[in-house]
Each structure stands twice: as C-alpha cells, then as structure tokens.
Amino acid sequence: MQLTSRAKPVDRKPMTWLERIYLWNIFKGMMITLSHLFKRKATIKYPEEKRSFSKVFRGLHILNRDEEGRERCTACGLCAVACPAEAITMEAAERQPGEENLYREEKYAAKYEINMLRCIFCGYCEEACPKDAIYLSQTFAPANYGRQGFIYKKTDLLIPDPKTDPEGYRKAKGEA
C-alpha cells in the first residue's frame, strides 16, 4: 500500500567490493569531517558576543512610563486576568494629592509582581493592557540562586525615568 508519493524504496543491493573493504568509505567520511575543520564555527562566544534577537522577541517585561516620567499602569488587573500562567499579581492604591507627577491616573499599582519562573513569555499581558503600560523587552531573565530572586518587583520592572535618566530610558526601549 502506498501511503505517500515520496516514499523511497530501501536500497538492498549487495555491497560492491569497494564498499566491503570499508576503507574507501571511511576515507570519504574522513574527508567530510576534514572539510569541517575549515568551516565557519557555529559558536557564539557568549559574554563577549551576544546573539541578536528578532524584532518580535518576547523577553523580560518592563513597566512603561509616559513622556513626563509618570507610571502608566493603573492597576486595572487586565494583564493578570489575561495571563495564562497566573504569573502576575498586583495591589492597587489611590493616588494622593501631590503625587500627580508620579502616576498618570488616579489609581496606580502599589505592588506589581511577576513571577518569572511561572511566566511563559506569551505576551498576552502586553496585548491586554489598555494603557500601554507593560511591554516585553529584548532581554531575558538572568540566572539566580534562589526562587525568590525570580519574583520581579516593581523596582525591577519599571523603566528608568526619561526625565532623570534619559540614557537608561532609551536603552530600555532598545533605541540606544
């Protein structure tokens, strides 16, 4: 029964004398490996060279700020709802008078945590966010000695302030 048109019959010809003495085939194989001596090496020397990611790479999250350096997150919780791995937890708080330069909306995330061990980097939080507050960046979570170290707090996630640290801000956005 023919299942596919691409099936190849197995070659069951008896071996020729040249094949049976085996040495010629060994020689051919050794020439193949020798040619690899002169091929370009596939290795990326990691700490010095870094592998470039694609434009749509989904890495570590950043919490975004607006042009004036105010946090955009309003702790609506849509990202936490969208998260299939349930990696995001947050606590909301009300903006007090005098904090208008810190938070864009009247409500903000007092606590915002992402467990990078749970996160599957699907990017659904980024899609769910109505305020453009969370993005997946071009880096990945570095190694850590303990599990606690993989629970990223707001301080780890927030993008640098474009007013006080424009250099860091541009770097985090991947523009520098």
């Binding site: 060994i26 050794m30 193949i32 490996t33 020798l34 091929k39 596939a42 290795t43």
Partner: protein, 352 residues
Amino acid sequence: MYLLAIDWIFILEKFLLVGFIVSLSMVVAMYATYGERKVAAWLQDRIGPNRAGPFGLLQPLADGGKLFFKEEIIPLISSKFLFILGPILAMVTALLTSAVIPWGRPLHIAGRDVPLQVADINIGILYIFGVVSIGVYGIMIGGWASNNKFSLLAAIRGASQMVSYELPMGLSLLAVLMLVGDLKMSSIVANQVGEGFFNWHIWYQPLGFLIFFICALAECNRTPFDLPEAENELNFGYHQEYSSMKLGFYLFAEYINMFISGVVMATLYFGGYDIPFVNEANWDINQNLLALIGFAVLLAKAFLFVFVFMWIRWTIPRFRYDQLMKLGWARLIPLALFNMVITAAIVLWLKK
C-alpha cells in the same frame, strides 16, 4: 683497581635523557588532551576550550588540577592492592616504551657522543611489543579489581582485543624486519635515512603500514576500537570505579600510548628522524643542530599521527564486538600473512 668501572657521566647522561623523554611524553600527553578537545570541536564546527589562558592553552593544567583535588574513592569491596596497581601498570608500561626509540642522531657534547636513545638494545622492536602487551594488565587488573560487572566486561573486551590485534601487528612488522634484517630500532631508522624520502619503508610496505596502523588504533583503545571504554554500552568501561588522579593516570596513559605509537609508526615506516627533502650526509650544518632538527621532524611526524588518531575518533563510529573480532582474525591476519610472504619472496628474489 676497579672490578667494575662505572662511567658516571654515562649514567648521568642516561638519567637526563630518561627524565627528558618522560617529561616530554607527559607534556605531550597533557597537550594531547587539549588537542583532542580542540580537534573534536573543530571537526564539529565548534571552537573548543578557549577560556583558560590564551587560546585555552592552560586548560590541561586546569584539568589536571581538578583531577588532583577530586576525592579519591576506592570501592569498599574492591581488591585494594590491585585497584591501585592497575593505573600504575597502565602508566608505567605507557612510559617504558619510549626507552628504545631513537629520538635523533647522536649529539656531540664536550667530545662525547651522546646518543638520543636510552637503550639501543638488539631486540628493540621486540621490547616494544613485550611492554605493550604488559599494558593489557593495566586494563585487566583495573577492570577486575573494581568488582563491577561493567568494568569486568570491559576488561575482558580490552584484553581479548589487544591480544587479537597484536598478532597482525607483529606479522605486518615482520615484513619490515625482513627489509632491515635487524631488530635494533637504530638500524631500522638507519635503513631509511638518505636522499629525499623514497627510502622510507612506507613505499615498500604500504599494506603493512595500513595493517600496523589499524592495529595501533586497536592497541591504543582508540575509536573505532574503543570497546573497553564504550561509554554508551558499559557506562565508562574499565575505569568506571576510578576517580581523581587514578582515573587521570588511565586517561593519561592512553594519550601517552597514542603519542608513543605515533613515534613508533614514524620510526618504522616514515623514516624516524630522517628529514625529508634533505640528504643529511651532504648537508653542511652543525651536527648538533642537525640532530635537533631531526628530533623536531620526528616529533612533527608523531603529532601528525596523533592528529590522524583524533580525526578518526571523531569520524568513525565504534565497531560491534563480532565485527572487531572478524576484522582482526579473519581479515587482518590473512592479509598480514600475505604481505609477509610476498615481502619475503621479493627480498629473496632480489638477494639472489
């Protein structure tokens, strides 16, 4: 009056030579491990060790240091004396072989002829064979003393393999000895020295060299004949229970064996310290310098063989055990006998 006149300078000279050759073998073996990893990496499109020192050149030191400081474990139910004797035997036999190899022309120092050969005994090549066959005991004893079924299996494999392949090796060598007419290593080399490199035995004994080379691979337990340490069949073979420097000695002995067999092959078939493209007798150059160049040429030839060994290792998969035995007994021995008979006939015919 002396009953036995002792030439102290002679003894000193030999001690120095032995010390030099043993340390040379050690250093070569150390860097052979580095070379092995580099060659493996290059053949697999990788870079290989490059972190310790420039180009990773200090990697062997790091490896050696690691092996020294690891915990030394002797299994409780092992035979302790034999367990320790195994790696010692492997190492000693690996180093002993270097004694009869002519490393170069004699040096002239302060009016003395200093031969670059520890002992030019008249049974030179037989001595090498004898010592190499003692090497089986290193594997056998190590594998048996470990009290481990895998190690024992590997030891039996190793022993039968080495015994089987010594036969065609010896037979292919007989043809060379017929050409030379002497068992001395120095006269084997002297027979090949001359104009160009057409005096080398490889031109007279290509088949013999091929057989010898295959057998040398088998004797060194190198792939495709590495059945004694077949990782995926026998875990780690005869050195599975070994740790720390005892394991290091086994691994080291393998690389020394590789180097020494490279040197032996260069000596027997590739003219030893004979410098190609040059007629040494007419070359107007300081004799000591000539000897050193010859030594370097011999080393270069040996390193070439070491490279080929590695190249083969990272190309060819391991033989199955029945294939190994079939190749040894049913193919190589008749072939070597044939080669021997043909050579004998031609030698007789030419001498008539």
